[in-house]
Every structure is written in C-alpha cells, then in structure tokens.
C-alpha cells in the first residue's frame, strides 16, 4: 500500500475527485431522481446482464464442438467449422445482427405454415434474434480459441489415456476437455468484457438495454452528456465486477505450470 500511494498519486487522485465533484455539482443530474427513469435504468441493466450471461454460456457450449472439429475432426467437419469462424470473425457483429433481424425476419412471413406455428410469437420479438446473433459471435471467436486450446494439450496425456484403454469419449471428458478449458480460463474474463461491450448493439434492433435507456433519456430531456457519463460509469462498474469474478474463479483452479 505504501509503495502504491506515492505523492504524485495522491495529487492525481485529488484531481480526479475534484473532477468527479465538479461533474456532480455543475452538470444536471435531476433526471436520476425520477422514478420513471430509475425503473428504466434498472430494467436496462438487468437486460444487459442476462443477455451477456445467456449468450456467453450458449456461445461457449457451441465453441467446444467448433474447436474440436477444427483441431481433430475429419475434413468434412473441420472445413465448415473453419469457414463459420472466418465468416463470424470477418464481418461486423452489427451487420450479423441486422442480417438476422431485418434480413431473415423479412423472409420469415413468406414461409408458408410458419405464421400458425408455436414459434411465431417468438419470431416476432427482437430478443431471440439478439441472443442468436450474439451467441454465434461468441461461438465464432471462442471456437478459434478452443481450437488452439485443444491442440495445446500435451500429446503424452492423450497417449497415456489411450494406453490405459480409456474409451474415446471418456478420454475426451476426463482428460482432453478439462485441460483445454483450463488453458482457456485466463482469456475468458477478457472475452466476457469484450462481449459486454458488444451488447449495446442490441439497442439497434429495438431492445431496451442500458444503452437504449440512456438514448431514451437523452431524447426525452435534451441532456447531451450526463446520460452518456452514466453509461460509461455503469459499463465500467460491470467490467470491474467481471474482472474480479474471473480473478476469484481462476484462483480456485490454480495452474501448476511454472
């Protein structure tokens, strides 16, 4: 603590506190007191968080087979998996989102029988498209990471398992997958932060996430900067939480390698 709190840092912290106080004093924050906006903000943060968690989980579940197919699969599985990852990584997420929502969404009504089906109520809402697009994005980026992780597991481990007569699936479940996941763990926190930063895009397809709520407040009140400052603070707080969570998570799976 002594080392960290050097004289120049005290001055810098003092300046930062002064800046924050000046922002709090001179800018307009009265809209924060309105219950209507408070409710909207809480709902927006909740939407951002569940979209983040759901798409990360689905995306990682898809990334495992994608990585495995590229690392060890036959060519007829490896080639499509590699093409999928290239397409996802080579085009903007915004475009993918619009392609699903506006593009596919405009084709669906022309498919006979779909209108009457049980799927139709979901296809008319925006969130299924957002979840699919963001999950596929995670799958594309993480599929590439998982490919490297599967390849990085030492061959001796797999040979030892084979020599013990372990069936192939048990070998995958007990040896290959856990070690690959262990290798990915340090990068996962960073990827989650990147995914958090991608979530505001869903506001462009009418989902009221945190970003959209701030936009709404700006439109209603004609205040330019303050809602944006709130956005920055909210996202930085969530980022901090994610970093702390993954640090704790990593400390529970200590890595033995030097």
């Amino acid at each position: 603590m002594r080392d960290w709190l050097q004289p120049h840092r005290v001055v810098l912290i003092g300046l930062a506190v002064a800046l924050v106080l000046a922002c709090a004093w001179f800018l307009r924050w009265d809209w924060l007191a309105e219950p209507k906006y408070q409710l909207l903000i809480v709902q927006g943060i909740w939407r951002t968080l569940w979209i983040l968690v759901v798409t990360m989980v689905i995306g990682m579940l898809l990334a495992v087979p994608l990585g495995l197919a590229q690392a060890a699969g036959p060519w007829y599985l490896a080639a499509p998996a590699r093409a999928f990852c290239s397409v996802i990584r080579g085009t903007p997420l915004l475009l993918q989102l619009w392609l699903l929502y506006y593009g596919l969404g405009s084709l669906f009504p022309s498919i006979p029988g779909l209108r009457g089906s049980v799927l139709w109520p979901y296809l008319r809402q925006a969130w299924p498209y957002a979840v699919v697009a963001l999950s596929l994005s995670v799958a594309g980026y993480e599929g590439e990471v998982m490919r490297g992780a599967f390849k990085g597991v030492p061959h001796g481990q797999l040979e030892a398992a084979k020599a013990m007569g372990m069936p192939r699936f048990a070998m995958f479940r007990r040896i290959w997958l856990p070690q690959a996941l262990h290798r990915v763990l340090p990068t996962l926190g960073g990827e989650t932060v990147l995914q958090l930063k991608a979530t505001p895009l869903v506001s462009t397809i009418t989902i009221m996430d945190t970003y959209a709520v701030a936009g709404r407040i700006r439109q209603d009140t004609f205040i330019v900067y303050e809602p944006l400052l709130m956005l920055a603070v909210v996202y930085m707080a969530i980022t901090g939480l994610i970093v702390l969570m993954f640090r704790w998570f990593e400390s529970r799976f200590p890595s033995k390698s030097a």
Partner: protein
C-alpha cells in the same frame, strides 16, 4: 426453382452498379469504411507508439495517466465512446472556434470518425506495442547502450525493427477490429458501408440481399487483409530463426 431464379435475378438487378441498382452506393460506403479504418489505424498506431514508450520509459505521472486512458477505453463500449467523443470533440472544436472569434464549422464525418476510432485504437495499440517492446531481448538494448547509442537512435535502429515482428499479429488483429468498428459509425449516421447498406435495404425492402452483399464485402476485405499481414509478418521475420510450429 423459378421463384429462386427470379429472386436471384432481382437481387442482381438491385446490386447493379448503374443508378437503378445500388452497387455504386455500397462501393462508396466501402470506400468510406476503408478510408476511416486506414486513418483510425494510423492515428491509433501513432498514439500507440507514444503510449508504449511512455508506459515503459516515462515518468510516474505519464505512466499513471496512460494507465487510466487504456483502462477506461478498454472498459467502456465503443458505441458509447463514439457517441461521447463525437459530441465532445465537435463541441470542443466549435467552442474553441467561437472563443477565437471564428464561425462554427461542420466537422466532416470522415474526420470525426478517424479521430474517434483512432483514440479507441490507440489504447489497444499501446498495449500491443508495449508487449512487443518487452519481448525484445534485453541484451540487444544493453549492447546498444554500452556502445553509447543515444535513446532515439536506439529506439529507431534496435527496438523498432526487433519489436516489429512481435507486434505484427496484434496489429493485424487491431486492423481487422478497425475495419469492423467502422460499422459502429453507421449508428451515429456516417455514410459508411453498413449505413449505406441499411439505406439501400430500407428503400428497396430487399434486406436480405443487401445485408448479405455487405457481409461479403467485409469478408473479402478481412480475408485480403489477412493475406497481406501474413506477407508483412514473413518480411518482418526474415533473418530470424524459426521456432517450431
């Protein structure tokens, strides 16, 4: 089958270069995107070089300020930063102009886009280049210092060429991020590729056709970039020993 044939034919008509088709609009959007990406990447690289050397060799205050810059930019979504910097930068420039007794000016979309994405890219470039400089063998730098080489010459002749090979993969990633982040500027209203696509699509109601076409353009750009960066990396690594894999 005929339905698909008709669909394909009408899609081709819509994508034609001449005015009834929207091909020219899309290509103009692509040109804007590439222009902004180039400018932002260059600006980011300049900020990154300064930032990396500042973080490694600067005084304590420089280091702390740079740490604040890279942390904030990497924690806040690009979309928020773009909105914020766009209003802040254009506002500040106009305030300054009024203060000096000039008229307000309309800042061009391309210039504002380059400035905003450049600041974002600069934070990531700082980290990439810092890592690359750290990977330069210490002995090389010490040898140069022992020969009495002045710091700037040392940076130019020893550190820069040696770190280039380490930095290329990270910089290639950043370039791809830059091309894709230009799409975000469409949300603020710049006429880059995604915005142009959206205009064409909402006018003609052929969303699927246009969004797919734009996707293919982006994909072509990124595949081409990957090939070019592989060449550059091979060039930067010439004379180095290959380490396995």
């Amino acid at each position: 089958m005929t339905a698909f044939g008709a669909l394909a034919a009408s899609s081709l008509d819509l994508l034609a270069y001449a005015p009834p088709g929207w091909g020219a609009t899309l290509l103009a959007g692509l040109r804007n995107s590439v222009l902004i990406a180039f400018g932002a990447f260059g600006l980011g690289l300049a900020i990154g070089i300064g930032g990396a050397f500042g973080k490694l060799y600067g005084g304590p205050i420089t280091r702390d300020l740079l740490a604040v810059y890279t942390t904030i930019v990497r924690a806040v979504p690009e979309l928020v930063l773009i909105l914020f910097l766009y209003y802040a930068v254009t506002g500040a420039v106009n305030e300054a102009l009024l203060l000096w007794g000039y008229e307000r000016i309309q800042i061009s979309g391309v210039a504002a886009g380059i400035a905003v994405l450049g600041v974002v890219q600069g934070a990531y470039a700082t980290e990439v280049l810092r890592g690359a400089i750290l990977a330069v063998p210490v002995g090389q730098i010490e040898a140069a210092r022992a020969m009495g080489m002045p710091p700037v010459l040392l940076a130019w002749r020893i550190v820069f060429p040696l770190m280039l090979a380490n930095a290329i993969p990270g910089l290639a990633n950043l370039w791809l991020v830059a091309t894709k982040d230009t799409a975000l500027l469409g949300v603020v209203g710049f006429a880059e590729l995604t915005k142009a696509t959206q205009q064409a699509a909402s006018t003609t109601k052929a969303f699927f056709t246009f969004l797919t076409a734009a996707g293919l353009l982006y994909l072509a750009l990124s595949l081409l970039s990957t090939v070019v960066f592989h060449r550059i990396e091979a060039w930067a690594r010439k004379g180095q020993k290959r380490t396995g894999g």
